[in-house]
C-alpha cells in the first residue's frame, strides 16, 4: 500500500521539469448592466431558461400573498411548510443539528438566498440559510426570497464574495432539479425539488 509520502514523492519525481506561473484571471464583466434593474433582467432571462420561476409581488400583495399565488398557479399543496425566513410563517420549524430524515414529507421550504448571479440565474445558500442542508433537496418545492440588490454580474464576482469563508457548505441552486437521462427528454424534479420560485424581497440573509 502506497501512502501519502509515497504518492507525494512520486509526484515530486515525476512532475514536469518546469514551474508554470498562475495566470491572472480578469472579471470579464465590463459589459454587464451596472444598475439593479438591468442585472435583474439578465438574471431572470437565464433563470427561466434553467427552469426556475421569477414571481414579483404586485403592489398590494404581502410576501405571503405572493407565495399563495404561486401555490395556486402551480397547484402546489403546501400541507407541510418549512419556513426559514421571518417574513413567512410556516408550520414546521428547523433547528441546526436536526436530523434530515424527518424532512421527507416536506412539501415546500422557504429560504432566503445570500446573493444571486446574473450570468447563470443562480442563487447561493450556505448552511446558515438552509439550517438543515438536506431541506434544499428533500422538499418537493422551494420558494426563495432574493434581494435584487445582492445580484452580482457573473461567476468570477460570485467567487470573490466572502460568504464561503466560514461556511461548511455553500451551494448554487439554478432552477429546480433536472435530468435528461432518458432519451434526452428534459424532466424537472429528478431527485431534488420539482420547482424553484424566486420572489424578489429586500432583506438580508
Amino acid at each position: 500500500m502506497r501512502g501519502k509520502n509515497d504518492i507525494l514523492a512520486d509526484i515530486r519525481r515525476n512532475k514536469p521539469g518546469f514551474a508554470a506561473p498562475a495566470p491572472h484571471v480578469p472579471y470579464y464583466d465590463d459589459d454587464y448592466p451596472r444598475d439593479t434593474d438591468g442585472l435583474v433582467e439578465r438574471f431572470v432571462t437565464t433563470l427561466e431558461k434553467m427552469g426556475g420561476v421569477w414571481c414579483a409581488p404586485t403592489a398590494d400583495e404581502t410576501l405571503e400573498d405572493t407565495m399563495r399565488r404561486v401555490f395556486a398557479q402551480r397547484e402546489i399543496e403546501a400541507t407541510a411548510l418549512v419556513s426559514n425566513v421571518p417574513e413567512i410563517t410556516g408550520n414546521r420549524r428547523l433547528r441546526a443539528g436536526d436530523a434530515a430524515r424527518p424532512l421527507h414529507d416536506v412539501d415546500v421550504a422557504v429560504l432566503r438566498a445570500r446573493f444571486g448571479v446574473a450570468e447563470t440565474g443562480s442563487v447561493c445558500f450556505t448552511e446558515r440559510e438552509l439550517i438543515v442542508n438536506a431541506i434544499g433537496y428533500l422538499a418537493q418545492h422551494l420558494i426563495v426570497l432574493l434581494d435584487p440588490r445582492t445580484i452580482v454580474t457573473n461567476l468570477h464576482r460570485a467567487y470573490q464574495r466572502d460568504d464561503y469563508q466560514n461556511a461548511r457548505y455553500t451551494v448554487f441552486h439554478t432552477g429546480p432539479s433536472a435530468t435528461a437521462d432518458i432519451e434526452g427528454v428534459l424532466v424537472r424534479g429528478a431527485q431534488g425539488v420539482r420547482s424553484l420560485t424566486i420572489i424578489p424581497a429586500h432583506g438580508s440573509a
Partner: protein, 495 residues
Amino acid sequence: MSAPDPIKSRNSPKAAREAAPRPDKAGPGERQNHRKAARQFLDSPEHAKSHDTRVWAMRQRRDTAAETIDEWEALRDLASQIKTHALTHLDDYLEQFADNAAANGVHVHWAGDAADHNRIVHEIFKDHGVKKVIKSKSMLMEECGFRHYMEGVGIDIVETDLGERIQQLDAEDPSHVVVPSVHKMRSDVAEVFSKTIGSDPDNDDAYYLTEQQRQHTRPLILDADAGMTGANFAVAETGGFVVCTNEGNADLSANVPDLHVASIGIEKIVPKRSDMGVFIRLLSRSALGSPITQYTSHFRSPKPGGEMHIVLVDNGRSKRLGQERFWSSLKCIRCGACMNTCPVFRRSGGLSYGATYTGPLGLILDPSIDAYRYSNLPFASTLNGSCTNVCPVKINIHEQIFEWRKVLAEDDQIPWTKRKTLAAAGEVLANPKSYRTAVKSAHSALKYLPGWAIYNKLNAWGQVRDFPDVPAEGTFHDWYKKNRMPADAATQGDH
C-alpha cells in the same frame, strides 16, 4: 404530499421497439475489439441513429453556449494555464489541500491505487457499521471497480444519478462520462425498470419513467447509512471540494446520511477558490450547453453531528505526470465535449470501447491503465482534431491519440492486421510517386470495384461508412498541378 405534474403518456407502441444492442466487452486478460463491438452496436440501426442524434445535439448546444461568451477562447486558455500551474506544483497544492481539509475537521486518506481506495472506504464503512450506501456519479469510483468490490463484501450501493441508476439496474457499464445511459432508448429503460423496480413495461414515457425512479429511490436515500460523492474540483486554498450535478443527487447523498465519503483523484486540485469562476463557466457549457449545472455544491466541513472523509486517489496519475507526451491529459475536467463531437464515438456508442473512459478521452486514458487490453482504442479515431478544438482545458487530444499509436507500435501492442496494413501504408506514404499512383488507382477502384473489395474485413471503417464520390477534378494533386503549380516545378518532389 403535493401532486406531481400530470404525466402525459407518450409511450411508443411495443411492436416498434428495437432490442437493446449488447456490444461485446473483453474478458479478463483479453484485448477489447472495438471494431467488432462497434459493428454490434450498429446492427441496431434505431439505437445507432438515436445515439448519434442525441450526442450531436449536445455538441450543438455546446457551440451555441460558447458563442454567447466573448471571452470563451480566453477562458479555455486560462483553464489550461491554471491546470498547468496546478500540475507543475501538484505536490505542494495537494499537501495544502490535505492540511486545510484536516483543519476543517475532515478525515483525509491517501490511496495509491484502486485496491487501496476500495479497502480504505470499506474500513470506514466497517468502523461505522455501514450496510447501505447512496452515491452520486463518480468516474473515479468506476475506475476503481468500487461497486463491484462492495457487492463482494455485502455492502449495498445505490446509484442516485438517473442515468447511472439505469446502468446499475441493467448490470451494464456507463457509456458516457456525463450521460451514462445515452446509448439506451426509452423502450430499453422501460424494460429495465419493469424488471427491477416494477414499472409498467408498456409505458416508456420519459416523465413516467423518471417519476418511477424518483419514487423508488427516495426511500433508499432516506434509509442509507452513508453517502458517497466524487468531486469535480478540490480547492487547495480552502481544503474544500466542488461537486456539480443537475439532479441534486450529490447533495442528497452528502446531506441526508450523517457520514459522507468523497473519493477525489489527485489531479482535481486547483489552487484557489477564484479559479472556480473559470472552470464552472466552462464545465456545463462544454458538457450540455447550459450556463451552469442546476447544482454547484462546495463542501468544506462536515455538517453538525456528521462526519466527512476524503480519499485522495493516485491510481496511476503520479506516473502519468512523468510521461512527457501524456501528462497534460491530467487536465481533463470530464465534460465529455470530446466524445460528443467525435464521429467515431457518435457512430459506435460508448459500450464499444469496453472501458471506463470512452470516446477520445478514453483513447488517451485507457491505454495508460492497461496497454494490452486497450491497444485497439487509439485507432478508433479519424484524427480530425475536433476533440482538441472543443476541449475546455485545451488538451491536444488528437495528437496524444497519434502518440499512443506510436507507443503501442514500439511496445509491439498492435494487432497483426493493423500492423500489416500500416506497414504497407507507411511504405506508400514515404514515397511521393508510389503515393500518387496508389491514390489514382484507389480513385479508379472507387469507381469500378464492387462493394466487397472496399468494404472488406480488413477495413473496419469501410464497414460503417460510405466513401465519398470521386471528385470530377481528380485528386487534389491533379488540381494543384493544373491551377497553382508553376510548370517547371510540377515534377518536384516526385524523385
